[in-house]
């Protein structure tokens, strides 16, 4: 039996046991046994444990701990992808498939929202349904943005780029992926149980008084956070300890640096969102009083704890995308990455500051007056380390020899979009401006410019850049460019007018708006449909290339970094023997540099 099926089975059994036990205990205590809240909560936790044990934790860890012979999952071909496999490349692809699927699903939800918003008044949804669709879209997308790049490319390419054979903890790596399916299943099931209507931020008291579907969000967020923590432990340890000889910190490819810094944020801050979710759930099912004003609780503290994670989370989304963009820029300009150390310092500065800006989401929340100005100051100063990324990018382009292949187009487009996103962010951080702009479509414009325009463009730059390496086949460059131009143009046509809408009084999270704003919204919606359609070209291109594209060379771009020094796709243990790193990854045109690394043919 494929481990996924056993996991599902054990998961369902766990759910039934946990839920049943809870109902039983409640019954014994003389309470109403079948209440959704606690039965579902405990059932889920048992189900999660059952799932993990079934999918592979039992066979590997538990058997070993109990002194039995572990039975790691060893399969060939497509079966590898459906079990607890430890090969980082398989795990990368598992992440990629899962999260691209979620991305398309959430994108389709966005299309539904745009149909509703195409004209004022109520069209295809009632307001309750709209809120639920909006919440699911936002939350799925946030999970995609936080996880897709580290999960897919971090896992696949960090070990390759540093010349390692695998991650430091291969089994934990598998665990970090297999924690995800329960969260994904929760979210996919949520619409059938009514979904939840409190947005991706789930502020109490709304999140305490709305329908029980709210718990799908809380538990999914909690589960995803768990995976993030496990994954970041692995990245940090891998990058510190597993570098090939000669791969000094100063020679680390910038993408690896971005994953390193990102992991620092997800390692620590994620615990806060876990706690926020936990407290909300307890308020719902266990009559605690954390955030419930009816029992004397403090709803604003939720916002502090939530944003202490969720602000760093936006850099968790963005930083790996910057890494990809700089990586692509340097290779496609055939130039050393400009001001490499400053770019790394930029990542470090953003990481450090990201912990100190959270309250800029709360400028109108009624938090103590003394907090506003300091948080405005920290938020605005984060532009400076972010600016270093742009410094590096522009310097890399200057005097280069640019090759405008699809990945390069996405990197350049992403930089351009993120510039607008960053600048609109500075408007948000400005206290007087934010009093008006907060919770309007201006903010929606801001974060789609940063997340979609920056992080998702970075993701696609990465997909086009590394596709030949991961799949071993080449896609059609023509279709790639067509996708880029459609996506780039219509992305801007969708999200720039939203800034105007926000300025003109269109608030967020609404299925209806003043009739005057109908025209611009119709324009936005139509652009959004074309933007959505552009992904069909992408899908077609990828599927066709996978099925019958020309076989890719080991190094189709002529790039220096180590992942290109092995076959496409790489063999199970990446390199025939341990590579010896001899010079920097971007030393193009440096006569004395020689190759980046010597990879012995056979040990």
């Amino acid at each position: 039996m494929l481990p996924v099926f056993r996991g599902l089975m054990w998961g369902v059994i766990g759910f039934l046991i946990g839920g049943g036990l809870t109902a039983l205990i409640r019954g014994v205590l003389g309470l109403e046994p079948w209440v959704f809240g606690s039965v579902f909560l405990v059932g889920y936790l048992f189900g999660l444990a059952g799932w993990l044990l079934g999918v592979g934790v039992w066979d590997t860890w538990m058997r070993e701990f109990l002194g039995l012979e572990p039975r790691p999952y060893q399969a060939e071909g497509w079966r590898r992808y459906f079990g607890f496999t430890t090969d980082h490349k398989v795990i990368g692809i598992q992440y990629g498939a899962t999260f691209l699927g979620m991305f398309f699903l959430a994108g389709l939800l966005a299309m539904m929202m745009r149909i509703e918003l195409m004209q004022p008044g109520r069209d295809i949804f009632n307001f309750a349904q709209y809120n639920r669709v909006m919440s699911l879209h936002g939350f799925l997308m946030v999970l995609v943005a936080v996880t897709a790049i580290p999960g897919m490319f971090g896992n696949y390419f960090v070990p390759l780029m540093i010349g390692a054979e695998d991650m430091a903890f291969p089994r934990m790596n598998a665990l970090s992926f297999w924690i995800w399916p329960p969260a994904a299943i929760l979210l996919l099931l949520s619409p059938f149980f009514g979904g939840w209507d409190s947005g991706w931020t789930g502020y109490p008291p709304l999140a305490l008084t709305n329908d029980p579907g709210q718990m799908f969000y809380n538990l999914a967020f909690f589960t995803g956070g768990l995976s993030s923590v496990v994954g970041s432990i692995n990245f940090l340890t891998t990058i510190i300890t597993m570098r090939a000889p000669g791969m000094t910190w100063g020679r680390l490819p910038i993408f690896v640096w971005s994953i390193f810094m990102t992991s620092i944020m997800s390692l620590t801050a994620t615990q806060f969102v876990g706690v926020a979710m936990l407290m909300t759930v307890l308020d719902r099912v266990a009559n605690t009083a954390f955030f419930d004003p009816a029992r004397g609780g403090y709803p604003l503290i939720y916002q502090h704890i939530f944003w202490f994670y969720s602000h760093p989370a936006v850099y968790v989304m963005m930083m790996p995308a910057w890494g990809i963009m700089l990586e692509v820029l340097a290779h496609f300009a055939r130039k050393p990455l400009f001001a490499y150390k400053w770019a790394v310092a930029g990542f470090g500065g953003v990481t450090a500051l990201s912990f100190a800006v959270w309250a800029h989401h709360m400028f109108t929340s009624g938090m103590p007056e003394t907090l506003h100005v300091p948080f405005m100051a920290t938020t605005e100063s984060i532009s400076v380390p972010t600016g270093l990324i742009f410094l590096s990018a522009l310097g890399t382009l200057w005097q280069g020899k640019l090759r405008f292949k699809t990945p390069m187009l996405f990197a350049l487009g992403g930089l351009f979009n993120f510039l607008i996103g960053g600048i609109t962010g500075v408007f948000n951080s400005d206290l007087p401006a934010d009093v008006h702009l907060h919770d309007t479509f201006w903010v929606v414009s801001h974060f789609h410019y940063t997340i979609v325009g920056g992080a998702i463009f970075g993701l696609f730059a990465g997909i086009y850049y590394w596709y030949p390496k991961m799949v071993g086949r080449m896609y059609s460059e023509r279709l790639g460019r067509l996708h880029f131009w459609l996506m780039f143009i219509f992305f801007n046509l969708v999200f720039l007018p939203m800034a105007w809408l926000g300025l003109h009084g269109m608030n967020r999270r609404i299925g209806d708006y003043p009739p005057e704003l109908g025209g611009v919204n119709a324009f936005v919606s139509i652009s959004a449909f074309i933007l959505g359609a552009s992904f069909l070209i992408f899908l077609y291109n990828m599927v066709m290339a996978w099925a019958r594209g020309p076989v890719a060379e080991a190094n189709p771009w002529g790039a220096r970094t180590l992942e290109w020094a092995t076959s496409s796709p790489p063999p199970v243990h990446n390199f025939p023997a341990v590579p010896q790193v001899l010079s920097g990854p971007y030393d193009y045109g440096v006569p004395e540099a020689g190759v980046h690394a010597a990879v012995p043919v056979e040990s």
């Binding site: 590997t60 070993e64 701990f65 109990l66 002194g67 572990p70 790691p72 430890t86 010349g163 390692a164 054979e165 695998d166 430091a168 903890f169 291969p170 089994r171 934990m172 923590v229 970041s232 432990i233 692995n234 940090l236 340890t237 510190i240 300890t241 597993m242 570098r243 090939a244 000889p245 791969m247 390692l267 620590t268 801050a269 994620t270 615990q271 806060f272 876990g274 706690v275 926020a276 936990l278 407290m279 307890l282 308020d283 266990a286 009559n287 605690t288 009083a289 954390f290 029992r295 004397g296 609780g297 403090y298 503290i301 502090h304 704890i305 202490f308 243990h573 023997a577 341990v578 040990s603």
Partner: protein, 189 residues
């Protein structure tokens, strides 16, 4: 972490032991942030408010029990480092015993607290959540030590290779330090 078949694995000049240790440290840092978040709630929402009828003496006794257990687990590790498996087993048992004693005291404390501190008030909520999270960590520490104990009985550890013991001990120390912070933030501040 075993399960690696490939021979030529290069680990950047780090030994497997060092790598494992580093991973565990990152895990501990992460867990520390969990308790930081709980403490943040307590301090942000309630400042230094605390109900009068907190049983500080009992908590003090619990602190001492847990500190003692840190000592014994340290001795356990020292024992195996010198090849003394029987000493290891003895000290592990002692540590687990102290852990169980702590949990029993905690249970007693809870049974009183349920009456004296309203769990449906902000302080009560954070009190039970924090101490409960800590108890859960302690419980998982006990579980790990039990596994280590079983493995030790099978003779799985040698003086030069006893990562399991080290990991268990490190985690136990961590749970201990967390209790100190809980004691400080919930009872003393």
């Amino acid at each position: 972490m075993s399960g690696h078949s490939h021979e030529a694995v290069y680990e950047g000049g780090y030994t497997r032991l060092q790598i494992n240790r580093m991973g565990l440290w990152f895990f501990i840092i992460s867990e520390a942030f969990l308790f930081l978040a709980l403490h943040a709630y307590r301090l942000l929402a309630l400042g230094t408010f605390k109900p009068e009828n907190l049983n500080i003496t009992l908590a003090g006794v619990m602190t001492i029990v847990l500190l003692l257990s840190s000592l014994t687990v340290h001795r356990a590790e020292k024992a195996i480092a010198h090849g003394d498996t029987r000493g290891l087993l003895r000290y592990l048992l002692l540590t687990m015993g102290l852990g169980v004693a702590f949990l029993a005291l905690m249970g007693y404390e809870w049974s009183i607290a349920f009456r004296e501190i309203n769990p449906s008030s902000p302080y009560g909520s954070i009190f039970f959540l924090t101490t409960g999270s800590h108890a859960l960590h302690l419980l998982s520490g006990l579980f790990i030590l039990a596994l280590v104990y079983l493995a030790a009985r099978r003779g799985a550890y040698q003086p030069e290779d006893h990562w399991g013991v080290t990991a268990g001990a490190l985690y136990w120390h961590f749970v201990d330090v967390v209790w100190l912070s809980v004691f400080l933030i919930l009872y003393l501040v």
